[in-house]
Symmetry: C2
DNA sequence: TCAAAATGAGACACTGACGTCTCGTTTCAC
DNA sequence: GTGAAACGAGACGTCAGTGTCTCATTTTGA
């Protein structure tokens, strides 16, 4: 709490005037992260264009959020079940887009849609963490790596 | 420390008989993780076969370590500089393998070798975390996703 | 068997983080 | 200008985690 207050350029007491306790603040952070992710997905216009175009836009919108989504993007199954459920609810439309892409023959069908979304999120966080500078087009690199992989041809 | 002692089926006092303080225990954990990662890379026989074959073996060996390497695999640039340096030293031979693969035309040259290694580590941790059951061949899925991507054709 | 080492159990002081409170000051809106 | 709201600056009690210590018990190894 002291570190948060320092970063926010506030006194610790003032932080407690905004959030009654630490749990409430963490809940607000989680809620904010869910809202930002939801907004990024909306910005991706999940219904427009092919699944590949949607994924490119979604990656772009999510990477624009920087590190503020890393908590919600790479959550393991050992976290708060309620938050995990909300997270799954936010991400489920994206999973549906992946399913659509698989039906359209644009994405491999022998990979689980949930895994594809998880891989996207994982690469996204890794790329943003490796390059905190917002000017680099992290989104393009992630999209390229996720879609085509790193090899020049299938082995 | 109480949780660690409970998991280890020891008393908290006994844990302090093995490690003088919390910092020493964490240092031992980091050292153990570095040793396991180094062993996994040795198991990958970095000099045998093409870079693609090496990466397949390395992914196999690293995934066999389960979640014990997640700390060292997805470290950000905000960690202990000394540990980061040791980590880079352990992983640098793998980066060299990627460079070799790029020179041989097996890996795309417009992706940074460090990014390819980071992407591999990130996908590995995500996959193992999503499927803690050791029987599933997580390694194959990670290798496939990393090498060929999730799309059926380049966009 | 027996001595040494390792462990269990519990008490203890110390430290840092948490949350609350008060008072004085600053900022804002009308 | 003035009242209200927000903030700064502390002090304060509480509590959980850390590390130490002692003594009884168990386990190990020769």
């Amino acid at each position: 709490m002291a570190d948060i207050a320092r970063v926010a350029q506030l006194t610790r007491a003032t932080v407690y005037r905004h959030f009654p306790n630490r749990d409430a603040l963490e809940a607000a952070i989680r809620s904010e992260a869910l809202a930002r992710a939801s907004g990024a997905l909306a910005e991706g216009r999940l219904d427009e264009g092919t699944a590949l175009e949607v994924l490119r836009r979604v990656i772009q919108a999510l990477s624009a959020q920087g590190m503020s989504l890393r908590f919600m993007l790479l959550q393991g199954p050992d976290s708060d079940p309620e938050f995990l459920a909300q997270r799954a609810q936010v991400l489920s439309p994206l999973v549906d887009v992946v399913r659509r892409g698989q039906r359209e023959g644009l994405l491999h069908e022998d990979l689980a849609p949930e895994w594809i979304v998880t891989a996207m999120a994982s690469l996204l966080v890794a790329a943003v963490r490796a390059a905190p500078s917002p000017d680099a087009d992290v989104a393009e690199m992630v999209h390229r790596t996720l879609m085509s992989g790193v090899a020049t041809a299938a082995s």
